[in-house]
Amino acid sequence: MKCRYACGSPEHALHRRKFLGALAGITGLGTVGFFTRPAVAKELQKRQKHMLVIYLAGGVSQLESWDPKPGTDTGGPFRAIPTSVPGVHISELLPHTAKQMHRMALVRSLNTKNSDHGMGHYQMTHGRNRGGLNVPHVGSLVNRLLHPQDCPLPGFIHVGRNGDIKDAGYLGPQYGSLGLPSGGPPAGIARPKGLSVEADLRRHGFLRKVNDHFLAQRRSAETEAYTYSYEQALRLMEQRHVFEVDREPEKLREAYGTHPFGRHCLLARRLIEHGVTYVQVNHTNYDTHHENFDFHIEQLGEFDRTFATLLEDLASRGLLEHTLVVVMSEFGRTPRINVRLGRDHWGRAWSVALAGCGIQHGAVVGKTNKNGTAVTEREVDHGHLFHTYLQALGLDSLGTVNVNGRELPVADPSREPIEELLA
């Protein structure tokens, strides 16, 4: 008799993740159920969706970027400039980005009621406040739900930062992030000296034989996951070239910028092009308690050209259509300018920018008052944004996940998506 887990059917190959999920209840493997909207599921199989987060660490000033208030007591020294969308103005520190505004949307009415870095990062990437359940990072969630099994690359990559298995929360570390702190190939991907490709493949051949012998009648979701991890590692080793930014034409590398952020964004595009589902690139030094304006000239100067090039590049390759791009921080900065010409932490009225994957072109959601000290229209928070990300990616953000037999909402059930952003 054939063991019921032993399976060579095409159905298995196609729906391997679903298969693993279904077995989760039996084996105690911590995985989630399948909750893609059925109508969208078909679409997903046709075209994989991606998410790219540009994280401006420290907290970018909304007043020096997406929601300028020139000429007010809080506005600072910079002007607002028109963009490619009539009537929409952003800070003059972002001249290149302004020309891409027709591809983007802005949310100017965020109130996350928080001014702590750690909490802010958690809120924006997990869609909830910390505490209670160990909910996953959005990267882990989409890794679990959207990353194709046949992709040789991992589903969740942090560029410019270490990976963290805790990102996955209750989904389990296999959905956690792979970190590329220096923007190069991942650790351990290179074979040690003295081990040729030939010898490695030979011993893997022997390993497969040993496994087949054992698994003939003892297959489970856990053994599947284990043998699969070796196949994944082998394929990853063959993908070293994907991580090598220098393979790109020099002209393009220059357009992106030769500084780490430019190279990291170019790497992000390469990763998405090769099938990585979620990529997060960090750009640091936005925590401007001192010299807010000088620092923003410097940091946004670097950001602006790179980001505009990235959007252009994604669009021209047809990737933007399937890639949700989000520019976020842990919070914004205080309208009040302190005595050191700095701005402090501020979560009560700030902005994020989005683009791609069906995000409404040129949309601006919400308003702040004249000098940016309060939201006056369409107040939303990280919970609403989280729903919006999932919906843009074709997932039902009101659905639940099944973790070891427990049904848990994927996104904060007290929030809903920002429909104006969704085309």
Binding site: P154, T223, S229
Partner: protein
């Protein structure tokens, strides 16, 4: 065929049940286990595992590593009928047993959390000592819940690791001690589970609402403290009319325990004052600890039985282990109650309980289902087939070191070093107790030396701290570690007495295959496997060492090695 065997099986069960009927009291626990498990089976289960499979399984479960090839040879050659029972006795008495159990207890109680001011080493040492001395489990858990002036400093780790925050403590005491995850009931009655109400949550919470942290101003050390006042109250977040001003402390599944009536002056032994750690006359924390120490609380006893059962059998009678409630009944309710009662009657003795489980046919079932076994018999809650249990990070580390000969050679070297001095040798040989002492010293020094290696495996393979440790995760990163990492590579370089060094000296390929399989997979290869080894070595005369390393690597990375089966 299937029908006949099913009938034969039913008959066997019937005969056994009738035979067992009047003498239940004298029947050892392991036989009662088998009777209750087998009574529920629709047909005959998988046979009892062969010696090699049993040997590997019981070593991994009780010592946390695979046996060395010498240990394997000795057991396989032993022809006596009671050799399994003797092996179980030997392992329960081995110095490695408390080391393994410290990790089992840590996985269960702490989920690898660390507590401020108490190093992980201290905490594990505390658990090891408790196991070594045979401290009853209800005392151990009572001590952790009590954690006052009368308990060892390390006992505070359980509460300190949760920051002594009453909600965090309530959640984990619920899960870890009583087997119920009450988290949802903090804010409202559980939407789906009738047993998880806000009353139950706040009844448990009330024991800890007076507990907090006290930091000594001079030493900056943090201690647990407790006040004599403070009540638990709640309001439902869904319906603010559902509320209670004062909830009496009540252990889950127990009765409310009112405070003794004390006048205001009588409340404290040491009254609170600035910079002084108060001591209440009546401690609610100690009252809950007392409930545990008495062992009479059924939820607690069932939870302990279920956790240990799950560790040995690969799945709880209640599954998941922290999900006891009316709609998630145990697969074998009578058995669970039997085990829970047995614990109480036998003083919550860890060794004794594990001995009974290990002696059962249920534990010793083969993980290889016979070809004729109906598919429904594979359902894990039937316990008709041995379950595959992924090795925990520490088990994996020690097994890889044992298989490659890394720890084996060090163990032997340490033993001979301790015995080099003739006077010491005479002392160690004085009596059995002192012989044990030598084993303990060797184990302690070996563990110290290998600690760095074990930590690397923990980093690569363990679930994150603070998460349930019974989850299995296989990642590409782990596979890259096995594929390209320095540690595995270095251990496979042939040295005089390690695995590849020994194999290199064996000229006969058949004997080589046998030594390889026995050392890594704790069994002798079958004819097909012997042939595969011979084929792999064919034409590799010039780089025989590399070929041997490749095969050894493959066995270490195999599913058969990665799982306890």
């Amino acid at each position: 065929m299937a029908a006949t065997s099913r009938f034969a099986w039913a008959l066997t069960v019937l005969v056994l049940a009738v035979a067992a009927g009047p003498v239940v009291a004298a029947e050892p626990l392991h036989e009662q286990i088998d009777r209750l498990i087998e009574a529920k089976l629709p047909s005959a289960p998988a046979p009892v595992a062969d010696d090699a499979q049993f040997l590997r399984r019981v070593y991994l479960d009780l010592l946390g590593r695979i046996p060395s090839p010498e240990e394997a040879r000795a057991f396989l050659a032993d022809q006596s009928a009671d050799k399994r029972a003797r092996l179980i006795e030997q392992l329960l008495a081995a110095p490695e047993f408390p080391w393994r159990m410290a990790h089992v207890l840590d996985d269960w109680l702490m989920e690898r959390r660390t507590a401020q001011g108490i190093s992980r080493q201290q905490w594990l040492e505390y658990l090891r000592r408790a196991v070594e001395e045979g401290k009853p489990l209800n005392w151990l858990l009572g001590e952790l819940l009590r954690a006052d002036q009368n308990t060892p400093a390390e006992a505070a780790a359980f509460l300190l690791a949760r920051g002594a925050e009453p909600n965090a403590v309530t959640r984990d005491v619920g899960r870890v001690v009583f087997g119920v995850d009450l988290q949802c009931a903090q804010c409202h009655d559980h939407p789906d589970i009738d047993d998880y109400t806000q009353d139950v949550y706040y009844g448990l919470f009330a024991f800890y609402t007076r507990t907090g942290l006290f930091t000594d101003r001079k030493t900056k050390k943090t201690f647990l403290t407790e006040k004599a006042e403070g009540e638990a109250s709640y309001t439902s977040v869904f319906d603010s009319s559902i509320k209670k001003e004062r909830v009496l402390p009540c252990p889950p599944g127990g009765k409310p325990l009112a405070d003794p009536k004390l006048s205001k002056e009588e409340l404290y032994l040491v009254p609170p004052a600035k910079g002084v750690q108060p001591v209440p006359r009546y401690s609610r924390r100690a009252r809950l600890a007392q409930v545990i120490e008495e062992g009479s609380n059924l939820w607690f006893r069932r939870n302990v039985a279920n956790r240990l059962w799950a560790m040995m059998m690969g799945r709880g009678l209640v599954h998941p282990v922290d999900y006891f409630h009316g709609d998630n009944p145990p697969s074998h309710p009578k058995l669970l109650d039997l085990l829970a009662d047995y614990l109480l009657q036998n003083g919550f003795d860890l060794r004794d309980f594990l001995r009974q489980l290990a002696l059962s046919r249920t534990y010793q079932r083969s993980s290889l289902p016979p070809k004729t076994l109906p598919a429904e018999m594979l359902a894990p809650e039937l316990f008709a087939v041995g379950q595959l249990k992924p090795l925990r990070a520490e088990q994996l580390a020690w097994s890889v070191m044992e298989a490659t000969g890394t720890s084996t050679t060090t163990r032997e070297a340490l033993r001979s070093r301790f015995l080099r001095d003739p006077k010491m040798r005479d002392i160690f040989q004085l009596d059995a107790k002192r012989a044990v002492l030598l084993d303990r010293m060797v184990q302690q020094e070996l563990a110290r030396r290998m600690d760095g290696n074990v930590k690397v495996f923990v980093r690569e393979f363990a679930p994150p701290s603070g998460e349930p440790q019974d989850q299995f995760h296989a990642t590409a990163g782990q596979a890259l570690f096995m594929n390209n990492g320095n540690l595995i590579r270095a251990w496979l370089v042939p040295r005089s007495a390690n695995l590849t060094g020994r194999l290199l000296k064996i000229k006969d390929t058949d004997k080589l295959a046998e030594e390889l399989y026995l050392s890594v997979l704790t069994r002798r290869p079958d004819p097909g496997e012997r042939q595969a080894v011979a084929e792999y070595l064919k034409g590799r005369e010039k780089d025989r060492a590399a070929a041997i390393q490749e095969m050894a690597w493959a066995l270490l990375c195999s599913v058969e090695f990665r799982f306890n089966h």
